[in-house]
């Protein structure tokens, strides 16, 4: 099976689409679609002078911090317009949006270098040194879910390695 990604957002007009505001929430949300982040999430965020963020989701206290993807990486959100019927058929995805920065949230625990996502980023450096080339970086944790608010989900979040076109990247299952 091969996977193809089409990038229709190459032109500069779409740069905003690739700079989405993104929140990484410590909760598996069984929903795929638009979310009222502007109404039900962002108004609750408070920022302390030291940059620590607090928020709340479904009554749970969240501790957050702004994060940037490691240099040379950006995240892309892909959607699949037509899902093939056969399991092993070739698949085509379209890039719907992306981001380089996001807010990482923990449930009632200050974000630290021991969080899986930070440790996961270590692999990028190691792989870079070890493989010295193209790297696939899969889903960080299946327990966590992403949402952005102008992009309708449908695919997973992907990580792509340096703006190669077409991008070499991997997809979350």
């Amino acid at each position: 099976m091969s996977i193809q990604v089409e990038n229709n957002l190459k032109d500069s007009d779409n740069s905003e689409q690739l700079q989405q505001k993104t929140h990484y929430v410590p909760c598996k949300i069984e929903s795929d679609g638009n979310a009222n982040v502007e109404k039900y999430f962002e108004p609750y965020i408070t920022e302390k002078e030291n940059g620590e963020l607090t928020g709340t989701f479904r009554g749970h206290h969240l501790d957050g911090v702004k994060m940037r993807l490691p240099d040379g990486y950006r995240a892309v959100l892909v959607t699949e317009a037509k899902k093939p019927l056969a399991e092993d058929a070739d698949r085509r995805f379209q890039i719907a949006g992306g981001f380089k920065e996001f807010v990482y949230w923990n449930w009632d625990k200050k974000p630290s270098k021991n969080d899986n996502i930070v440790k996961g980023f270590e692999w990028m450096d190691i792989a870079d040194a070890y493989l010295g080339g193209i790297v696939s970086f899969g889903s960080i944790s299946v327990e966590l879910s992403w949402f952005t608010y102008t992009v309708t989900g449908g695919g997973g979040v992907t990580w792509n390695y340096r703006n190669q076109s077409p991008p070499k990247c991997s997809k979350t299952p």
Binding site: V5, P26, C27, G59, W123, G138, S139, V142, K168, P173
Partner: protein
């Protein structure tokens, strides 16, 4: 503060997602003469809005003022009557000179967050901490406290022991229905109830919902308006606005039924720990799964998996 309007203005000016205090000036006489202090709460049961803890204090010698204000079992008083008594506390000189009060508004967000901590923090703990901090603040203000009376819904003995340990030099009485026995507790109860009622009246939705208490009701789960609100004001992803205590079973059950399922990280350290060394007999006969080779610990710890490459 000199009127209920001023109280409402004050409540409106505060961030209703956070806890805050509202209080009278400390009457100077309370610093010199030995005082009693009453503690009571309002809005423990409702699924909507804040819970309010209130304290009221006055010199031991001025008990009759409380009676003349009409401080009796606040549950037997109507809302209008409570408003009237509280207004008297704000404007009548005799009351201002002798009776001080303070309330803590505990936001529904704080209540939900506390009950949904990793290490759960019960409503009783939230309540006790609020009572303790209010008493401490009154003491820090220089009030000469000799006696404390506390109304409780939980077992009085534990509560009393805890307060006596923290405030060893003060005579402490914790009792069920203290509200109807001690006028100073009734006064505290009026402070709490009036504050809670008006906090709901001026509730401003951060989510931009154009609604008020005439539409969401008293907040008690039995109130038909509240029931309707809980049934209808559901956001598929986020659940409810911050007015709602997510940790209440009324809200929890409704979200389970009507909103997207959300699963937080399991905090139970060993959810499925099987007794070591006891394999079920069937495992010896089932085919070996050759495909699931264990990945290196480095990847396992980081939740990294092999996935398909894109082209």
């Amino acid at each position: 503060m000199d009127s209920l309007k001023a109280l409402e203005e004050y409540l409106k000016s505060k961030d209703n997602a956070e806890n805050f205090f509202s209080s009278s000036e400390i009457p100077p006489i309370c610093k010199s003469e030995a005082c009693m202090l009453g503690v009571d709460e309002a809005g423990r049961g409702p699924v909507l809005g804040p819970m309010v803890y209130g304290v009221a204090y006055c010199p031991l010698s001025q008990k009759k003022i409380l009676e003349s204000l009409g401080c009796a079992d606040s549950k037997a008083l109507t809302e209008d009557k409570r408003d009237e008594i509280f207004t008297k506390m704000l404007i009548e000189q005799e009351s201002i000179d002798n009776v001080g009060w303070k309330g803590e508004v505990i936001s529904p967000k704080y209540i939900s967050n506390s009950m949904y901590r990793r290490a759960k923090h019960s409503l009783n703990e939230v309540s006790m901490n609020s009572a303790i901090s209010l008493i401490q603040m009154v003491l820090d203000g220089g009030v000469n406290l000799a006696e404390i009376y506390v109304d409780t819904v939980g077992p009085p003995e534990k509560y009393q022991a805890k307060l006596s340990e923290i405030f060893p030099n003060i005579k402490i009485t914790v009792a069920k229905k203290a509200d109807s026995i001690y006028p100073i507790v009734s006064a505290a109860s009026i402070v709490a109830k009036v504050t809670r009622d008006h906090a709901l009246k001026v509730w401003n939705f951060k989510e931009g919902l154009d609604m008020d208490h005439s539409q969401f009701g008293s907040g008690y789960p039995g109130d038909p308006l509240t029931k309707k609100f809980i049934r209808e004001q559901i956001d598929h992803v986020f659940g409810y606005p911050l007015l709602v205590r997510f940790s209440w079973s009324t809200a929890e059950l409704m979200l389970q039924e009507k909103a997207a399922t959300c699963t937080f990280e399991d905090i139970d350290e060993s959810p499925n720990k099987k007794a070591a060394g006891t394999k079920s007999i069937s495992t010896f006969f089932s085919p070996k799964d050759k495909t699931s080779r264990k990945r290196h610990k480095f990847f396992q710890e980081r939740c990294l998996k092999m996935t398909n490459a894109f082209e």
